[in-house]
Symmetry: C2
Subunit: 415 residues, 2 copies
Amino acid sequence: MSGPTAYFDPAKASALDPQTRDLVERRARSLGSAYRLFYDEPVQFVRGSGTKLYTADGTEYLDAYNNVPSVGHAHPRVAAAIAEQAARLTTHTRYLDRALVDYAEDLLGEFPSSLSNVMFTCTGSEANDLALRIAKAATGAPGVIVTANAYHGVTTEIAAISPSLGGRASLADWVRVVPAPGDGDFAADVRGAIQSLATAGIQPAALIVDTIFASDGVRVDVPGFADAVASVRGAGGLFIADEVQPGFGRLGTGMWGFARHGLQPDIVTMGKPMGNGHPIAAMVARPELVDTFGRHVRYFNTFGGSSVSIAAAQATLDVLRDEQLIENARNVGDYLLEQLPAIDGIVEAHGVGLFIGARVASEDVALRTVNDLKRRHILLGESGLNNDVLKIRPPLVFDRADADRLLEGLAAVLA
Amino acid sequence: MSGPTAYFDPAKASALDPQTRDLVERRARSLGSAYRLFYDEPVQFVRGSGTKLYTADGTEYLDAYNNVPSVGHAHPRVAAAIAEQAARLTTHTRYLDRALVDYAEDLLGEFPSSLSNVMFTCTGSEANDLALRIAKAATGAPGVIVTANAYHGVTTEIAAISPSLGGRASLADWVRVVPAPGDGDFAADVRGAIQSLATAGIQPAALIVDTIFASDGVRVDVPGFADAVASVRGAGGLFIADEVQPGFGRLGTGMWGFARHGLQPDIVTMGKPMGNGHPIAAMVARPELVDTFGRHVRYFNTFGGSSVSIAAAQATLDVLRDEQLIENARNVGDYLLEQLPAIDGIVEAHGVGLFIGARVASEDVALRTVNDLKRRHILLGESGLNNDVLKIRPPLVFDRADADRLLEGLAAVLA
């Protein structure tokens, strides 16, 4: 089991104050052993606004970690859109809904014209699961190529292509793993994976990658990316861009991560920030692919594209544009990337926009830094293959003052 | 491809009024060919309240079909809970949240004490997918037994155990299908499926059934159910009760369908009405099963159990109790079952609570009835293996006056 490890250790519950301990223990009894809490001392927030979270006693925390509330915690326009729609009607896509069609067209306007169909789900896992179902139906092939520490979600099918969850032994036999870009020759590695599948009599359905390679430690430049995609297409497979992490402007260079690389995917998936916390996700694809799938099977997602979900997504997209948050992500991200290396204890910083990794000396230092920062009321995570990278991935409304507060906090705890 | 067929036929778009046609065509271009609309003439609702839906010109429709808005369309308490929480905070389960723990305990209080862990997802498909992952991890076995026309969801894994979606040819090779109860000897059929798996060298992980057998035409009595479950357990497998359709009181006999049969499942899944339309679903299980799973893999569902989802679910559960909707489902359901057979053209009526099927002479009659009723502003669906059954499955606030309006409408269009 890999992944972030700045989790609360239940064996240390006795060190907590009595109220927190009681809640932690009740939680463990009812939610069971698969759930995790952040931090040495778990924290409960009762209110949020912009980049700030507040505990019951009014203590303010700076959120430099959460990527879901992308336009800011409890954004009033998104909250109002949800409230208005929930009080009026929540229903599904088998009735006509002008707002659904308007949003679909608005979202598709952000994609190359060849990607002209959108299907709505509730989670990024469901979007990736649907993308693979469609890719397999359209190609008639089962093979899938992923990167070394890829994470694409938690359905059975998607867990079976996500080495970051259970290691390579947990993957399906139709999956091939290639080193993350920069750890090898990406184009050659993908060609090798296609060859390895062919040796087993398997054709590739798709190469699927998170276009910022988040769980592989954030890879900004990907030499050979276009060649890798061309090889997969040459073997009959598709290119799926997983935009659940980088999408909706986080990278500060436009709406989607794939565009940075000059690529046109066959299928794109998105989720987390799409409704600023409301459960909505989507898959965008070339219509020919959807047609092949639609001929074989019926698909209906009860809550996918429901009225309140669309209201939340439209308001989020409107705010993203009106508040020019992509530009803000670029400006504040550039500033952080410039300032971080000057801090003693930061070995190097890499990333783009508001998706930044800052490497420290070791996993121990990273874990101590995350917990020390939390005691100073700044929220951060850590990740990377060696868990020695501080993950800076705040709401896109993170401004220069927030950045300075984070930089000062980092300098203090690393000193 | 089976399932309800009272769908709009895109080839008939030219018969629609220009505004509707334009919206239908825009929708088809952006959502693609996998989406369906209800009715000969698709309808757009802009507002709902209780059992009523309204179009933009104020026309009122009686909803005798939708099972998701279980405590009534746009229930003010649920809408207020969503609005309050969305304006304050939406966050995930890795921070402490007293409301999450309170709801988890409240929900688990509705189950036998052996079922003491709950995990939250966003959709019933995700809940069933997680249930199978846990069942397979806990038993170390891959085999799954389902009923003839079962529907459990749309992820890759769950579509592969759902014959109603793509027929038997679409199922995985570790799936065995048994006739629905009443079409054979259920206990003997399940023993036969275990034997068939054994012949292929496959142990059973689980028997999974919708406890009202909705897609198998609604089966109220299940002779041999306990024996079937005992056989599966004898072979090392688990019993999973899919309560996505019958759960949360629809059957009028208590909260869950499995309880009607005196059974204790190992895992229970639920969804649709859980948040009255908000995307929340869950899986409840024996903690030993979750422990086995949790030792092997990490599980995190970004939106599952998030603050607004829990607020919606708690409000829905509170209303279900405070308005005594389970009792209402029993009373109004009994009344419908008593009155329906007196209508000329209804061959027979069966069901329990507010889950009722009324058989008519043929699929043609069923489709005509559904579309004629819609023109009289009453919403109903049709289903059944021969598509000759009118599906009566209204919000649980459906009252005696609603029932009389439905009965009068049925009598008029069937005359």
